[in-house]
């Protein structure tokens, strides 16, 4: 029984590790910030998830008490991951893009990021995005 549990927990940990590595590799490999955003928001959810399941299984089988904190971590992860992704996307739109780069909304009003009435921070209108280097553009280069 304990042998099976050990194998199960090890497999979960390894799967989690593999997904975390894939997510990080995606960060390096993909070309621009918007594409890179996909790697850590998604490829790591299973990574974290299986590590948490492994942790719950370990405490249940070897320490003989059920640990609930893992469920809370999952809850907080699901609450915060979309918001983080949205903030990074918005920062990227403010810094590196202009309203013309996006498809039209089709309803008359502009996208909220570029709507002058809604934004306190003006988009950089005089900045033209160049080819993206591997390092990403730093403020000094712009």
């Amino acid at each position: 029984m304990e042998q099976i549990a050990e194998i199960l927990i090890s497999v979960l940990l390894i799967v989690g590790g593999i997904f975390a590595v894939i997510g990080s590799y995606g960060l390096l490999k993909l070309r621009d910030t918007m594409q890179r955003l996909h790697a850590p928001t998604k490829a790591t959810t299973v990574g974290v998830g299986s590590a948490l399941i492994a942790s719950m299984a370990f405490f249940l089988i070897f320490e003989h008490h059920l640990s609930w904190h893992e469920l809370l971590i999952t809850l907080f992860l699901f609450l915060t991951a979309p918001i983080t992704a949205n903030f990074i996307a918005k920062a990227q739109m403010h810094r590196m893009m202009r309203a013309e780069d996006l498809p039209p909304t089709g309803v008359g009003t502009d996208w909220a990021t570029f709507d002058p009435e809604l934004t306190m921070v003006q988009p950089l209108t005089d900045y033209r995005p160049g080819p993206v280097s591997d390092e990403g553009a730093s403020p000094a280069e712009t």
């Binding site: 997510g23 993909l30 790697a39 928001t41 998604k42 959810t45 992704a85 996208w111 909220a112 990021t113």
Partner: protein, 164 residues
């Protein structure tokens, strides 16, 4: 009647109660009392902020929606992993996709936006100033229209049934 006055927002109270109990991580009577106090006081203090909250009309449908999203998140992980590992950068066709939405409450729109970010190869980046269109960035979209239709039929239709 008293129950209704004590718990004006039963879902929030329930969530606070459960979160506190999970946080304590072992069953003690003291923390049960503390959880109950939090479940009563926090909804009362924050009542001013959720006057026009939409009611979750169909709780089983909402639970089913959560399970569906969980499953899609797992599938999304494998799809994105596959794209990262096995596709050359030149072959990845990223696209911006505007998705018009018909949801009326901001809560439902937020839930939809969050769902889109968590599921297959898509991230919600922005919203139109009027709140009627979501801007979505897709990692690999050979057919943007199919992705838009998929989002509308798979998630938006369900959310609409839950909230409206």
């Amino acid at each position: 009647m008293l129950l209704k006055r004590l718990f004006p927002h039963p879902l929030l109270s329930f969530l606070l109660f459960v979160t506190w109990m999970l946080l304590v991580n072992e069953f003690k009577r003291g923390s049960l009392v503390m959880a109950l106090i939090l479940a009563i006081v926090i909804p009362l203090l924050t009542a001013a902020y959720w006057q026009n909250r939409p009611k979750v009309k169909d709780v089983p449908a909402f639970a089913a929606y959560c399970l569906l999203v969980m499953w899609d998140v797992i599938v999304a992980n494998f799809q994105v992993a596959k794209i990262i590992l096995f596709m050359r950068n030149e072959d990845i066709k990223s696209a911006w996709i505007p998705v018009p939405i018909e949801l009326k409450t901001p809560e439902a729109s937020t839930l939809l936006a969050g769902t889109i970010t968590m599921t297959p190869g898509t991230v919600t980046a922005d919203m139109s100033a009027c709140g009627k269109v979501l801007l979505i960035h897709s990692l690999h979209a050979p057919d943007p229209d199919a992705i838009r239709d998929d989002i509308k039929s798979r998630y938006e239709a369900r959310l609409k049934r839950i909230f409206e």
